[in-house]
């Protein structure tokens, strides 16, 4: 019986073979063109390069021809990536930063078809009416709960459309000396101890300032001149903003006591009462209006993007400000209100005339007057930044801080072990994490980044415009092997570009695509793809 079935099966198989052979010439499509994968140079960005290598290896199992195209970073890689779009697939690494928790950034901004111009974010020229529609809808929803529903739906659509295959987010390891400091009520944020919420909680056990080690020196304490995220992190300690980005990615009231959205283009902010700048003068609606107007008027480059949709700021009364936007734009809350520092008008208003500088960007801004939780005592360039906590600040900072700049990350680690510093703001290199774990007073703090690495498809290429192909490719990436072998286990997976640490916005119900070549092949087959006699993947017949 068994033998008979097997025989019949063989006959059928043979028949099938004959059948496919005769129809092949008629029904088979063109071979899928070779895929050029723009990636990072192996010498300097070894783990990025190696990740793309693993991915290419997986895709080849589907019968795809994949070649790696490593380019020197930053140039010309960045221009091939963002300006010329000279790639079929690009190994995209969008690093984490607090402001990227604004949910628009990793979804609509990246994939709305309106953002496909050279230099804009939609580098793969992805176009989907559904994404565009949801993207536009969430932009007009100021209510975080309402908006979250749309953002979740947007993530589900993106997971299905696969304009990019999300590979992993990295986990950074920081360390602190528990004999000297503590962070009571530690918030699990993408920035670990560097997050404002944890810095405020950093508590010295001896009462001496908490000693923080890092390798990056402050570039400037002038908010108009600052351009890099590290500079703004320190500026957040000395200047307040109206809104602060919460540890979970949702907006929290800060200098604003409440916020009312009157209509989609009008936001009214009521200020917190009784707060003052470090020189004792009260923070008023006048200072708020001044700050927004001033940054806009003087073209503060970093804020240019965030002030674009702001039409005007009006003072309603000494504690109320009305913002009028050019169009409904929900990210205004986190991106603009959450980033613009409130400057003391009495310091800045006449700074150009008084000091004879050409523009406020050239102002040294010392001694610094701000309303933030810390007062800048002194900054010795290339060496240290001393910050004194303001006991009368509503955020109740726990301890004074001393930020110490080191020449290299190895020395930050060595100083921590020796007890010269209390906290390392420098991620510890994965290879020495074990060594640190063995130290008696050292506590390791793991922080999941809110950025991620992914494979971005150029959907302007006919083959990659095919959704089934992209879906199949998502199942041909050896995720676990990449995380374990290449990233040393210090990484995690996410099904969507809004990664799990961005807890308020992340949709955790979306299943992770599994590494499953058979499933990938089944998807391709169902979509009409076939394989040539050489095993090369062929497009569906027209």
């Amino acid at each position: 019986m068994k033998l008979a079935t097997a025989f019949a099966g063989a006959l059928m198989g043979l028949g099938g073979l004959l059948l496919t052979d005769t129809t092949a010439a008629l029904a088979q499509g063109q071979p899928v063109p070779e895929i050029k994968l723009l990636t990072w140079p192996a010498a300097k960005y070894q783990h990025y390069f190696e990740t793309s290598n693993y991915v290419a290896e997986g895709w080849r199992k589907l019968g795809l021809k994949v070649t790696l195209d490593p380019q020197p970073f930053p140039s010309p890689m960045l221009s091939k990536w963002f300006k010329e779009h000279d790639f079929d697939v690009v190994m995209s690494v969008l690093s984490g930063s607090p402001q990227r928790s604004e949910p628009d950034f990793f979804t609509n901004a990246q994939f709305n078809s309106r953002n496909s111009a050279p230099g804009d974010s939609n580098v793969g020229s992805f176009a989907s009416a559904k994404v565009d529609e949801l993207g536009a809808r969430q932009l007009a929803l100021y209510d975080a709960q309402e908006r979250r529903k749309v953002i979740h739906e947007l993530q589900r659509v993106l997971a299905d459309e696969q304009p990019e295959a999300v590979i992993a987010y990295v986990v950074n390891t920081f360390a602190m000396n528990t004999a000297k400091v503590d962070i009571p009520g530690y918030e699990d944020t993408s920035d670990g101890p560097r997050s404002l919420w944890n810095m405020l909680r950093l508590t010295s056990k001896s009462g001496a300032p908490v000693r923080i080690g890092r390798t990056i020196d402050q570039g400037t304490f002038n908010p108009l001149a600052a351009t890099i995220v590290e500079d703004f992190n320190t500026l957040s300690l000395v200047y307040d903003k109206l809104v602060e980005l919460g540890p979970d990615g949702s907006p929290r009231m800060w200098l604003a006591q409440s916020l009312a959205v009157v209509d989609p283009t009008t936001v009214v902010v009521k200020l917190r009462q009784g707060h003052s700048f470090s020189d004792g003068k009260p923070v008023t609606a006048d200072d708020v209006k001044f700050s927004f107007d001033y940054l806009k008027r003087w073209n503060a480059v970093y804020f240019k993007k965030y002030l674009e949709k702001l039409a005007s700021v009006e003072i309603v009364d000494p504690e109320t400000v009305r913002f009028t936007l050019t169009e409904a734009y929900a990210p205004f809350i986190i991106n603009t209100l959450g980033q613009v520092p409130i400057l003391p008008k009495h310091v800045w208003a006449d700074v150009v005339e008084k000091t004879g500088i050409a523009k406020p960007q050239d102002f040294r801004n010392m001694p610094l007057v701000g309303s933030g939780p810390y007062v800048l005592r002194y900054w010795r360039e290339g060496q240290e930044i001393s910050l004194q906590r303001r006991a009368d600040h509503f955020a109740k900072p726990a301890s004074d801080l001393l930020i110490i700049v080191f020449g290299s990350a190895e020395l930050v680690g060595a100083s921590l072990k020796k007890g010269d510093i209390d906290v390392s703001f420098q991620p510890i290199v994965p290879t020495v994490v074990k060594e640190f774990a063995a130290e008696k007073n050292v506590k390791l703090i793991q922080a999941r980044s809110n950025g991620h690495m992914s494979m971005r498809y150029n959907t302007a290429r006919p083959a990659l415009a095919n959704r089934a192909l992209r879906q199949a490719m998502a199942h041909a990436i050896p995720y676990e092997a990449i995380i374990d072998d290449v990233l040393g286990g210090d990484a995690g997976r996410s099904a969507t570009p809004i990664v799990p640490v961005n807890a308020f916005w992340h949709d955790s119900s979306i299943p992770l695509p599994a590494y499953d070549i058979d499933k990938a092949k089944a998807i391709l087959k169902a979509a009409g793809f076939s394989w040539g006699p050489d095993g090369a993947l062929r497009m569906p017949a027209k």
């Binding site: 000693r211 400037t220 001149a225 890099i228 050239d362 002194y378 360039e381 020449g407």
Partner: protein, 323 residues
């Protein structure tokens, strides 16, 4: 002599002009765009444009170059892209820190190098001399950062004799003035980088002194000094070493610029906030004006040092005539 000085001066100006030009174009050939440090991953086009305008990078390259040369003439190094502060002001304080570390250690290296080199030549062939030459050659070929790291590992971490780095104990000197330079804490921080740098810089004058001494020892006047019945010491330091000093004295000013450039490594290893550390930061952030000015400063030091060396040559050796 005056004619020579004038000619030499023109050569210096020409060399520096060539250096400044080279530097200007070299930095603009480097990959990386100063506006790329604006953190948006997509290099937000409008912010980029605004930055370009602000820095004058939107103008034709040649126009930028002429402006740069004109500003150099009046010692205006422009503003840093990163901090918007005058470059001159940024470099000043850093240069002082570098010189405080480099000058004493170069001086010590040359002094010790001359003495040890002279003795080594005198004791040529002994086991001690062979060992010394071997050690000096090995030290000279060892990477400086490696020596520094080893020193930190041994003296700072294992033995806990010196701090891991920095110029003073962080937090100890809230006053922003010169007082920290006069403290024992400063000397304590200076000690290890000073020792490592001295040890490293010592090898060149030592080996140079030794080889010049070897040719001096064979001269007739040494024989004569011996025949006069002078003590070995007198012959060694009074006659042989004195005549062997010439190449050493003339290389010192020349090598100074090179030593300042070498501060990049020692300062990075010891978190020493000098010119070298500033240069590393400036390059990694594509801060052209700061990097250019720092390199130009090193060029000036080298060119000027060579000039001094030429003059010194004639001063020390009356046989040299300037024509």
């Amino acid at each position: 002599m005056a004619g020579y000085l004038l000619r030499r001066f023109w050569h210096m100006v020409l060399t520096l002009f060539a250096m400044a030009t080279l530097m200007f174009f070299l930095f603009r050939l480097l990959p990386g765009d100063p506006t790329a440090t604006v953190i948006s991953p997509s290099l937000y086009p409008k912010a980029q444009e605004a930055m370009r305008q602000q820095f004058g990078l939107d103008r034709p390259l040649f126009e930028q170059y002429l402006l740069y040369l004109r500003n150099l003439l009046v010692l205006d190094f422009g503003f840093s892209f990163q901090t918007n502060r005058p470059v001159f002001e940024m470099i000043q304080g850093r240069l002082l820190n570098t010189l405080l570390l480099i000058l004493p250690s170069m001086f010590a290296a040359y002094l010790l190098g001359a003495v040890i080199g002279a003795i080594a030549a005198w004791k040529r062939g002994s086991a001690g001399e062979v060992g010394l030459v071997f050690t000096a050659t090995a030290l000279q070929s060892a990477p400086l950062f490696w020596l520094g790291m080893l020193a930190i590992l041994l003296f700072s971490i294992k033995l806990d004799l010196f701090p891991i780095g920095h110029i003073v104990t962080p937090g100890l000197f809230p006053e922003q003035d010169w007082r920290m330079y006069l403290s024992a804490d400063f000397l304590h921080h200076l000690a290890l980088p000073f020792l490592v740098n001295t040890l490293y810089q010592l090898c060149f004058p030592l080996l140079l002194m030794r080889s010049t001494m070897l040719s001096t020892i064979g001269e007739d006047y040494i024989e004569l000094a011996r025949m006069k019945g002078l003590s070995e010491r007198r012959v060694l330091f009074g006659h042989a070493a004195r005549n062997a000093l010439l190449p050493l004295a003339t290389t010192l000013p020349m090598i100074l610029g090179w030593a300042v450039a070498g501060s990049v490594v020692i300062e990075t290893v010891f978190s020493w906030p000098g010119l070298g550390l500033l240069m590393v930061e400036a390059i990694s952030r594509a801060d052209y004006p700061v990097a250019q000015a720092a390199f130009l400063l090193i060029a000036v030091l080298t060119v000027f040092g060579t000039f001094i060396a030429d003059l010194l040559c004639g001063l020390l050796d009356p046989r040299i005539v300037y024509a």
